[in-house]
Every structure is written in structure tokens, then in C-alpha cells.
Symmetry: C2
Subunit: 151 residues, 2 copies
């Protein structure tokens, strides 16, 4: 399942939706144990004036509502960008099993950049974390966004 092109295409599509809305282009999906996408989100913090509308949190909330439980123990989350501390916490709290992300975020990323991998393992021992390929496309989208922002 990991790295399935379908999932990477979907989070990139969601990131582009954020980009079109002048939001930092981040997309996320939650996939359940049988491979069904049960949550989708893209960053909407500025549009909604709501700091909790990171792509990951939107996708997790949708998934929790869909399954009727805050526990998503067999689920995986796919994200275009390394998650921030808030989103890592939400992923861990929801007991999500696998976290796949594409691009590192040296400023706010909390699974390898701002926290060490060892620390994250200690905080959430059951969470498997992997970085996927595909960084070129996501990186280009991020650079285009920040170029547009500076104009």
C-alpha cells in the first residue's frame, strides 16, 4: 500500500486545491485498513481563519466522523509535507498506524526535523513513519506558492 501512486496523486491534487485558494499547499488523506480513502483535507487556515484547519486535521476529523470513533488504529495518513507538532500529536492521539509524508519541513516538521526520530518513537511507539519519494513535484509547488506570496 505504501507509496501507492494513487494516494500520492490524491494528496498532490489536494495540495493544489490549497494552492489555488492561496493557502500553503498541503494535502492529506486518511486511508483505512482495506485501502479506502476515509478522510481528505487540504490546508485552509487563512481562508477559514482557523489555525486548526491544517490538511491533516481536516482529514483526520473526516475519518473519525466516517468511522464513528476517534480511534483509527488500522489507518494510514499520507501527507505532502512533514507534519507540524500539532498534527503529529493528532495523528498519535488517533492511534494511526502509518504516517507517510513526501517533503521534509525544516521549519515546523516534527517527525524528523524539529524532534528527533528517537523522540517521536518514544512519544508514539506504535506509529510507523516513512518518507516517500515524489519530493520534486511537491517542492516545486511549495516554491511556486512562496514566489507568488512574495509578489
Amino acid at each position: 500500500m505504501k507509496g501507492d501512486q494513487k494516494y500520492r496523486d490524491e494528496i498532490l491534487r489536494l495540495a493544489r486545491k490549497a494552492y489555488s485558494a492561496n493557502e500553503v499547499p498541503v494535502g492529506a488523506i486518511v486511508v483505512d485498513g482495506d485501502g479506502t480513502i476515509i478522510g481528505r483535507g487540504f490546508n485552509q487556515t487563512h481562508t477559514k481563519k482557523d489555525g486548526l484547519r491544517h490538511a491533516e486535521l481536516v482529514a483526520i476529523r473526516m475519518a473519525q466522523r466516517k468511522v464513528g470513533d476517534w480511534r483509527l488504529e488500522k489507518a494510514s495518513i499520507y501527507i505532502t509535507l512533514e507534519p507540524c507538532l500539532m498534527c503529529l500529536g493528532a495523528i498519535g492521539n488517533a492511534r494511526i498506524k502509518n504516517l507517510y509524508y513526501i517533503l521534509s519541513d525544516p521549519l515546523f516538521g516534527s517527525v524528523a526535523s524539529k524532534l528527533t526520530k528517537a523522540k517521536v518513537r518514544q512519544l508514539f511507539p506504535g506509529l510507523n513513519i516513512e518518507k516517500l519519494s515524489g519530493g520534486t513535484e511537491v517542492g516545486q509547488l511549495m516554491r511556486e506558492f512562496f514566489k507568488k506570496l512574495r509578489k
Copy 2:
């Protein structure tokens, strides 16, 4: 403002609301720069089947809607319990200035228990964190909740 009895009474009242709803009894408020309460929350994760309904996140979302901005740079948050990683991340992302909490949480608390104070300062240099007195009442409420839960 810090430790104002009014604010402690209010978060304890909110924690009791969570207790009455059979939720882990946690209450939180966001107070703006002039002392007005602009956000209130109590834990509702089980009732709403929504892992994002921690007291802190409910209070932050309300405050962000009220001021029409995800930045709460002059605000303080008062919480009955040391916040988890997700809530610390949300507090830091919202650029909240002061974090006051009453009871430590050795299992999930992330401002002193699971992360070191030094690490938290490094993650959010602008965030002032203080532990307030009043732990006896909050501790008793927590113990009563877990006693009830075991029955």
C-alpha cells in the same frame, strides 16, 4: 492576570462539565490581552467521537473565530491539565503568549512531562509557560473520574 482566581474557577467549572458528560475532565479558556474570555472548551472527544475535541482545541477554535484571525498573539490559555503534544502544537501555532496549567500529566503532558522544558522553549521561543496552584481540586476531580470509569 496570572493565576486569577476567576479564570481558575472557570476552567474548573468547564472540567466539571466534561466530568458530567463522562469525559476525561479537562477545561480550558482563552483570555485576550485585556482579560476578556474569548474561548471556552471542555473535553468532548468521546461524546462527539472526535479526537480533536480536546478542551484546548475547542477553546482555541472559538477564540480564533471570535477575533477572525488564527493568530492570538496577546492571548493566554488557562488549562486544568498539562496539554498533550497536539494541544501544545495548536497553542504554539496560534502564537499564544502565555500558557497556564494546573495539574501535570505524566502520561501525555508535553510541556514538562514528555518533552523537556528546554525542548519546548526551542520549539516555541515566544511561549511563556507556568504551572499554577490549585492542583488539589483538579487532582480530586481526575481521581473521581477514573474511579467512576473503572466501575
